[in-house]
């Protein structure tokens, strides 16, 4: 026990002197959260739009105002020809072009179907999908209105009422902030511990430790425990910023969140330690950490839904600790669910942690050959 405490104390002292790392550890959640929370909106609004209105009627003005009132389309340019529309989109000044033919109002009046063309620059997938979906639904809603106006007294045969739970307003920050928190913690923990053993190996202090009575597991635990504390500090900073700046509601039990987070931190630290035991130099450790971190962030469902992944990739994402933690943190923060719903995820993290700590303890031989 005294040996573990000595290692913890030493790690703490070294960390305290390493000002730059400390600053990074606390700045990382702040900067990342602000950046991601503000800059990243998966919901694309205010798409620059060019309009070529050949009808110039009250009906065409009506449909155009529906488009701009939706908030998704900003009518910024008015074109006089089809070529001009093309030019605006080619140059990238507009991403959507709305073309209304000259006979638009005449066809409407004669109860014919009035065509209306919406051109979308689909080179940006996210924008295009959004624009297409919104344009379609504007068309549908307008059609319904016109039908009902023409035949008063009737009602629509189907009435689908969608109720988005947990995040009714579709605020991206609610969805992103908890996820970013997970990403930041795992990134910091893996990188810091990846350095932990290999640094001592490089500086020659490991050789000294090997000839002392210090046991493997004592060294591993002594290296891990200070960083668990650090991980919690980081999470607290991030949660604070999330709820103060982005007003993310924490619906579940925060104590439960802290408790379950322990499994995620341990899993990340275990992964880092394993890297540290395999790598020969700090440079290698750094590269391995990135090699592991990048795919796991992408696979976890942090930004891209896992349901959209091909089967093989989908199953691979099950070995990424972040995948489980996203379920846990989004579950507790947004859905307000508790441990009983998250047993599977927690057990997966526990198994992962034990596996990693097991590997690093056995891999680290107290012999030199």
């Amino acid at each position: 026990m005294s040996r573990i405490i000595s290692v913890i104390k030493k790690e703490y002292l070294q960390l305290r002197r390493d000002r730059l790392t400390l600053i990074l550890i606390f700045m990382l959640p702040l900067v990342q959260l602000l950046l991601f929370g503000y800059a990243i909106q998966t919901e694309v609004k205010h798409i620059p739009t060019v309009v070529f209105d050949q009808s110039l009627s009250s009906e065409s003005r009506d449909i155009l105002s529906s488009f701009s009132a939706s908030g998704y389309f900003d009518v910024m340019y008015s074109a006089n020809s089809y070529q001009q529309v093309t030019r605006y989109i080619d140059k990238g000044r507009a991403q959507v072009g709305i073309i209304i033919p000259p006979d638009f109002s005449r066809k409407l009046a004669q109860n014919e179907s009035a065509p209306l063309q919406v051109i979308v620059d689909a080179s940006d997938n996210m924008v295009a999908n959004q624009a297409i979906a919104i344009a379609n639904s504007i068309g549908l809603i307008k059609s319904q209105q016109i039908l009902l106006q023409k035949q008063p007294g009737t009602s629509l045969p189907l009435d689908v009422r969608v109720r988005p739970w947990y995040n009714p307003d579709g605020i991206t920050a609610y969805y992103m902030v908890p996820a970013i928190l997970g990403v930041i913690v795992t990134m910091t923990m893996v990188i810091i511990t990846a350095m932990a053993i290999v640094r001592e190996r490089e500086r020659g202090t490991l050789e000294q430790l090997i000839v002392t009575p210090l046991k493997n597991y004592e060294l591993m635990l002594g290296k891990i425990i200070p960083y668990i504390v650090l991980g919690y500090l980081q999470i607290s900073v991030a949660l604070l910023v999330g709820s103060l700046v982005f007003k993310v509601p924490i619906r579940g039990n925060i104590l439960e969140l802290y408790l379950l987070t322990l499994f995620f931190i341990t899993a990340s630290l275990g992964l880092g330690l394993t890297i540290s035991n395999i790598a020969k130099t700090q440079m290698q450790a750094m590269q391995m950490a990135f090699f592991v971190m990048l795919p796991s962030i992408l696979l976890s469902g942090f930004m891209f839904p896992r349901q959209a992944m091909p089967d093989v990739i989908y199953y691979i994402s099950y070995i990424v600790p972040l995948t489980y933690y996203l379920d846990i943190i989004r579950g507790i923060v947004l859905k307000g669910i508790g441990f009983s719903y998250l047993v599977g995820q927690v057990s997966a993290l526990l198994i992962f942690s034990l596996l990693m700590l097991g590997i690093s303890t056995t891999k680290f031989k107290k012999k030199l050959d």
């Binding site: 000595s6 104390k9 030493k10 002292l13 390493d18 500086r203 002392t212 012999k367």
Partner: protein, 311 residues
Amino acid sequence: MEYSIVTHNLSKKFGSFTAVDKINLNIRPGDICAFLGPNGAGKTTAIRMLCGILKPSAGSGSVLGYDLLRNPEKIKENLGYMSQKFSLYYDLTVRENLNFYAGIYSLASKRRHQKIEEMINLADLAGREDQLVANLSQGFKQRLALSCAIISDPQVIFLDEPTSGVSPAARRSFFNIIQELANQGKTIIISTHFMDEAERCGQIAFFNQGQLLALDHPAQLKKHAVPGKLYRIEVEDPIRLLNKLRHWPGIKEVSLHGRSLHILLEEDRLAILKKYLGTEPKVIEPTLEDVFMALAKRKEGERYESNYLGN
């Protein structure tokens, strides 16, 4: 316990390379034994096996009565080890380093404070307790590394080239500390390639190409290891003479030392040499270097005989 370190045909192979080849050591408590030899002679490998951090390929050995193979953890509790890298934490202060190692050896709080003070005095670091190790001079780092290694009061101390890169004054004060520790009855193994350092040790183990050439007191080695008598002559043109004498029968070894030559001569050949030179060569005591050369040469001869003459 008569011997604190005993080995029997202790060997270590890395693949097909034999780093340590059947060494037999018997070292008493209170002895300072220098492992002397060129780089790659097997000194460090031998030390690492004795520390229990490298598994021997063959042979056996014990330290303080604990078997190298069966009880390496027990040995670790009773040994101090200092490597040529001065394994200190440069971003910790002097006191923090000592405190860390005191904790690793589970020293109780009261003894810990007492030991740390003792070590600070021993290493002459009083007044620098709160300095970062990174800012200390090499000499201080070396003495601090020693202090950290012996804070648990180990009975056996291994020092692997502890004096490289340290000023002569610091080397001397370091050696005084070592001497004091030996006087307390501790066994000390120190590997070095400084002949003058080895001279101060009670025992010298000569290593070459993984083999132990000799293990004895420096004076004994000088008396017995060199076959024949060693003479020194001073001449105008030593190089010309060197080339001439090299092939003389009866001259076993001739080497250049500044403006003079050292000549190792078979006992009864002095008269001929005297006549040739016209002066009386002075008899000198062989240096450890001479001893090493003679031992290495003899071993070379034995190997030649066993390889080619079927002995």
